[in-house]
Subunit: 216 residues, 2 copies
C-alpha cells in the first residue's frame, strides 16, 4: 500500500537540485513554525522560486506539507532497513531499534517536529489524508518480532504481544519526541539531568534494562 502522491507531475520534471531546495526550505519552515503558522509565500521566497511555480508543483499548502511528511516516512523506512529483525536475539534487535530511532531523531529532527505537529488534533484533517504513516510501518515490525521471539522462547511465554508492541512503540515515540522540540528537550533534562539527557548510550542502556526485565 502506498500513499497518494501529494505533488503534481510538473514537480517530477524539475532538476534534482531544484527539488532539494524546495524540500529543504519547506521542511525547515514547517518544522520550526508548525503547519498553520507557515506561510507558503515565505517558502517560495526562500527557495527563490515564484509562488506560481510552487503552486504548479503542489496543489496546496496542505499537499506540500503532506509531501514533506511522506518524505520523512521514506527516510524512516530507509533507516529501518538497517534493523535486520532476523539477526541476533530479540533484545539485540530492540537495542538496534533504539539506536536507529535515536540516530533518526538526531539526524532528521525536523521530520520529528513535523510528525509531532501532525499528531495534534488541529491537524487531524491532514493526518487522515495519509493512508499509510509512521505507525503502520512500525506496528507490523514490532508484532512480528515479538511473536517470533515468543515462539523461540526468548521472551516469557505469557507475553501479551499486542501490549508489548504498543509499549515498545511508546518508548520509541518518546525517545524521538525527547529530541524533537524544545519542550521535550527541557523535560528530559528535568528527569535525567543535563549530562545524562545528552548521553545516548546511557539512555539506551537504561531503557534496555527496563525492556529486558519486562519481557523476560
Amino acid at each position: 500500500m502506498s500513499n497518494t502522491v501529494f505533488y503534481k507531475d510538473t514537480f517530477t520534471k524539475i532538476s534534482e537540485e531544484k527539488k532539494d531546495i524546495v524540500f529543504t526550505v519547506a521542511i525547515a519552515e514547517f518544522a520550526a513554525m508548525g503547519y498553520n503558522a507557515t506561510n507558503i509565500n515565505t517558502i517560495a521566497q526562500k527557495a527563490k522560486i515564484s509562488i506560481g511555480s510552487l503552486y504548479s508543483y503542489f496543489e496546496s499548502k496542505e499537499d506540500l506539507f503532506l509531501a514533506m511528511a511522506e518524505k520523512g516516512y521514506e527516510l524512516l523506512n530507509k533507516a529501518l532497513a538497517e534493523l535486520h529483525p532476523e539477526e541476533g536475539t530479540v533484545f539485540e534487535v530492540i537495542e538496534r531499534l533504539l539506536h536507529i530511532a535515536f540516530a533518526y531523531a538526531e539526524k532528521h529532527t525536523d521530520f520529528c517536529r513535523i510528525y509531532l505537529d501532525l499528531s495534534t488534533e488541529g491537524l487531524s484533517h491532514l493526518s487522515e489524508r495519509l493512508t499509510e504513516n509512521v505507525e503502520t510501518s512500525y506496528v507490523h515490525v514490532y508484532k512480528k518480532l515479538l511473536a517470533a521471539a515468543k515462539a523461540k522462547g526468548e521472551v516469557r511465554a505469557d507475553l501479551d504481544v499486542d501490549m508489548a508492541a504498543f509499549f515498545l512503540d511508546n518508548i520509541v515515540v518518546m525517545l524521538q519526541f525527547s529530541l524533537a522540540s524544545s519542550y521535550y528537550r527541557s523535560r528530559i533534562k528535568l528527569y535525567l539531568g543535563e549530562d545524562y539527557a545528552q548521553d545516548r548510550k546511557r539512555i539506551i542502556a537504561g531503557l534496555m534494562r527496563i525492556v529486558k526485565r519486562s519481557f523476560s
Copy 2:
C-alpha cells in the same frame, strides 16, 4: 513557585458564570483547531462578548491560550491530590496514578489536546513562558515516590530512580496522548485492536505488569 498571571484585573471582576463561558468556549476552540488556527474573534463571538471585552480580560491571544493551559494544570494538580503517594505499596500508588491519568484524559480531553499542541516546536515561544508546567509537577512526585520505595526495599536496590521516573512519565504521557487526538486514537487501535483500546482496566493491568517486572 507559581506561574505569571495571564489575565488582567478586569477578568477577576466579572461573574463566575461569565468567566466559565469564556473558558469553555476558548478551551474548545484551542483544543479543536490548535493555537495558530484559532481565531480570537470566533471565541468572542461564541462567548457572546465583544472583542473589546475579550481584550480587556486578556492582553493577547497568547495570554488567553496560556491562561487555558494554566487552568488545565490546576485541574491536573487537583486530580493528583487523590494520588496519596504515602498510602499503600509503590505499585498500588502507580496503579492509582494510571487511573488518575486515564480519568483526567477522558474527562479533560481538551486540555490534553492543548498540551499536545503546546509541546510542538512551533509553540515553543509559548511553552517557554510557563515557569511551571505539567512536567515540573510530576517529576518531583515520581522521584520522591521511587526513592522512598527503594529505601523501603519495595523495588530492586539498583533501580535508577531518574530513569525509572522518566520511564513512568513516558507511560503516563503516552496514555494521555492516546486519548488526546484522532491520530493517537487510531494508533492505539492499530496496536491493541478496537475493543482492547477502549478497555481502561485491561490497558492499566497490562501496563502494571510491565512496571512491576521492570522495577522489581
